[in-house]
Amino acid sequence: MSRPLSLLVRKNRDLFIVFAAVVLALASSPVDPASRFHALLAVPLVLFLPGYAVLEALRPRHLDVVQRLLTSIAVSFAVAILAGVALNWVPGGINRTSELSALSGITMLAAGVAWIRRQSAGLVGMPTDRPDRSSVPRRLLVSCCGLAALLAIAGLAVAYRAAAHRQRIDSPTRLWLLPNRLGSNMLRVGVENTDTGGRTYRLRVIDGSAPLREWSSLALPSGATWTASVVVPPTSAHRRIQAMLYISGSRTPYRWVTEGGTG
């Protein structure tokens, strides 16, 4: 790299990073929008880069580094909100393509303006604070940061684990019975075992008191869903289908549902 070019890159390193991040986010988007890599690029594209580029284009004086970084987030919010409201009135509305185009377009445009203003004014990128002459040894600072992060993450992990465990317990088995869209003589019956462990059930479907169908041993591991269609006799005005789910070995219905009125 020739000397003037390397100087140019060094002076505008931040804008190069902005350009590169936007290009990478755009390039990775059609490949696998749900990938971790794309998510890593897209988060700053929404929450940081547009604001940073706008701020650099306007070049506010007397803002220190932290003020610039946090104001960049605030301005990114503003850009995203105003772009979203504007996109509402565009054909197609607020979809992935329009959002990606709007955010990357604004970011690139603002970064371009920042670049031109810097070149014409002979300015350099974001000022950095003077070297830290803190008497706190860097090693101590880093160690304390690490220890604090570790403790906070441990707290969060403990709370998360307990909440997730409780949510699993609080979600018991469910049974449902719905008309089948394929025909009026068909019903859909479903069971989902959301208990913490596997279970074996017995499922009886009756019409009045006449048995229609029975599954005597329905073994479902935790989290599994089972569905089946049930053919019922031609519709009559007094039809009353009932599905009853028993825990294997029990005679008391665990769950029950009906079709055609409960009373």
Partner: protein
């Protein structure tokens, strides 16, 4: 003001004691996390671990902030860390899903934007949410562009907003008070406001609007005293951020418009102290904000805003009128409905102490800052807004005014923080003068000040949140966010997958919110054909009136949560705040009232043990036939 305080920044290093304070705060966070985990298992030790943890998180930076020796950088870092630590406390409360009413309402609007690609779809949970879609737009963008879930995206968005909020609070107070010492203290006192810990950290519009509004006012304040060719830059940035506040939250945008108007008036009053250019700039900012607010209301959100906010002043005034005339008794403080969920004595002491300390500090702070306020319109407006604090407490004495009082805190505390910081400055100065060391607030005075600030923080949290809401835990019936549990969420998600979107339903308050958000159904409330919809559930029999409600309100599904039977509602009502005997239920809901649907013409289509969904199609067909 810095030097007059006698607390000038020292020659000490710029990170000061930050590393140690950081570790102490992290220990507090670990304690809160462990306490939350214990609370899920209903361990008795959870509460005694939770509050000390919370106190440590707040007290450690407060103690350091009261020192004269901390550099500006350290003070800013402490404010940012406390802001984020308190946000982590909120995330720890329920790190797997949304559990606050407002979060679920915003979830519905976010889902609608993701599904329809357009704004302003009706929201059955809170009518105004779709018309202030700033938060949902950003969250939906993050969901679409990253592939993260709505919950994960919301945690990121609100976390980023919280970081901005903490920083902008410090800088705004620095602008108002002219001192980093006072700015740090004021920012910490603001964070002690009752709404900061949970309410302003939830996935709700004010959690984004307040940080944006604070940033906008800070930028405008900088603009009013900016000189030179680039003076327009903070104005442009401020205008951009201000323009985003208006479509994000109604009350915040009104508050900003009111504040700018008050600033303009203050500038005109203090015109000898303020330059004409500064007044012109304030006038421009105020007009710009008012035009935006009026246009958004006229063009987009007017009717919905009126529907949501219009009744509040009347409710509060009617409550106060009744209270003064003695036609209704006031609300029993520190007690849930029907005498349940009473606050323990120590909680009541903290709650009262938090209010009394602020009330004592306010006049002292106002007196301490009287001279400075004559020179600064910004400080004058802040101090005048502090006077609203005692006024904002009055509605708390009525049943309907508690929420208004709670929500006022996030606005009036800007002024309260400035005034209380002024009070602490006075203590600091007299302590320094007395000790003749000239620079430092004495350790004893510092400890007192820190204890007072921590009491205001913990007491405010106690005042604002019911005992059962402060820590997580298993399902509780009719208890607000503790009623949003997995069985209800699972039923709502089943409804979303199997029932027609937008179907009209009747159910209890908590399941209505879950079905309206996760389930994409439309819960119906109020009165139909002269009959309150909740009476469908409150009566013991399924008779003519029940049928009339279902048919007249075109209800397609009835959703019953059997866990409501046999218990009194902690929040005072089972179905809606206007139901018969709301806040005066002295007998629990009988099981027969909920099981009557099993002996009716309704079809029982879903059963998860506690939650049952009934289809009304057969009844409706019969009604249409006849």
């Amino acid at each position: 003001m810095e030097h007059s305080v006698g607390c000038a920044p020292s020659r000490a290093n710029r990170w000061g004691h930050l590393p140690f304070v950081m570790v102490i705060m992290a220990v507090g966070l670990l304690m809160v996390g462990v306490a939350d985990a214990g609370a899920w298992r209903q361990e008795a030790w959870a509460v005694p671990v939770f509050y000390p943890g919370l106190a440590i998180i707040y007290a450690a930076p407060a103690f350091r902030m009261l020192s004269a020796g901390a550099h500006r950088r350290e003070r800013l870092a402490l404010v940012l860390m406390l802001g984020m630590a308190l946000y982590t406390v909120k995330v720890m409360h329920e790190p797997t899903m949304f559990t606050f009413h407002d979060e679920l309402g915003h979830l519905r609007t976010t889902s609608d934007i993701l599904g329809s690609h357009h704004l302003f779809a009706a929201n059955p949970i809170v009518q105004a949410y779709p018309y202030y879609p700033g938060l949902e737009v950003v969250t939906a963008m993050l969901v679409k562009l990253t592939g993260l879930s709505i919950f994960q995206s919301a945690v990121l968005v609100v976390g980023a907003a919280r970081l901005v909020f903490a920083g902008s609070l410090f800088w705004l107070f620095e602008e108002v008070l002219g001192s980093t010492w006072l700015a740090g203290i004021a920012a910490l006192i603001y964070m002690a406001n009752p709404s900061f810990l949970f309410f302003d950290a939830q996935f709700a519009y004010e959690s984004l609007a307040l940080p944006l509004a604070t940033t906008a006012i800070w930028l405008i304040a900088r603009w009013t005293r900016a000189r030179g060719r680039s003076a327009w830059v903070p104005a442009a940035l401020g205008a951009l951020v201000l323009a985003a506040v208006v479509p994000t939250h109604h009350v915040t945008s009104y508050a900003v418009a009111g504040m700018l108007a008050a600033l303009l008036l203050a500038s005109l009053t203090l015109r000898r102290q303020v330059t004409a250019m500064s007044t012109r700039r304030l006038a421009t900012a105020a007009v710009f904000c008012v035009v935006l607010v009026v246009n958004w209301n006229r063009g987009v959100a007017g009717a919905a805003t009126q529907a949501e906010l219009g009744a509040i002043p009347h409710q509060v005034l009617a409550g106060l009128h009744d209270l003064l005339l003695g036609s209704t008794g006031g609300k029993a403080l520190f007690q849930a409905s029907a005498g349940q969920g009473a606050e323990p004595l120590w909680g009541q002491i903290f709650g009262f102490a938090s209010v009394v300390l602020v009330l004592l500090a306010l006049p002292v702070g106002l007196w301490a800052m009287r001279r400075a306020a004559k020179r600064s319109p910004l400080l004058l407006v802040f101090l005048l807004s502090a006077v609203l604090y005692p006024v904002s407490l009055i509605p708390r004495l009525t049943q309907g005014g508690t929420e208004t009082s709670n929500r006022a805190a996030e606005f009036v505390f800007f002024g309260v923080a400035a005034a209380v910081a002024g009070c602490l400055w006075l203590i600091c100065r007299s302590s320094a003068e007395r000790s003749r060391k000239g620079r430092s607030l004495q350790p004893l005075a510092r400890s007192f000040a820190m204890t007072g600030m921590t009491v205001v923080f913990i007491g405010g949290f106690i005042v604002n949140w019911a005992p059962w809401s402060r820590l997580p835990g298993p399902f509780l019936p009719a208890a607000g966010d503790r009623s949003f549990a997995q069985e209800g969420v699972a039923a709502a998600m089943w409804a979303r997958d199997h029932l027609v979107s937008g179907s009209r339903i009747a159910t209890d308050e908590s399941d209505a919110v879950l079905m309206g958000s996760y389930g994409d159904l439309d819960p119906e409330r109020g009165v139909i054909d002269g009959l309150p919809v909740p009476s469908l559930f409150l009566s013991r029999t399924f008779g003519k009136k029940s049928r009339r409600i279902i048919v007249a309100d075109d209800l397609q599904y009835i959703i019953v949560d059997k866990r409501l039977a046999g218990v009194l509602p902690l929040r005072g009502f089972y179905f809606e705040a206007d139901e018969p005997n709301a806040f005066a239920h002295f007998k629990p809901l009988p099981r027969a009232a909920l099981e009557k649907f099993d002996h009716s013409t309704l079809t029982r289509i879903y059963d998860s043990g506690n939650i049952v969904i009934y289809d009304t199609e057969q009844l409706m067909n019969g009604a249409r036939g006849s």
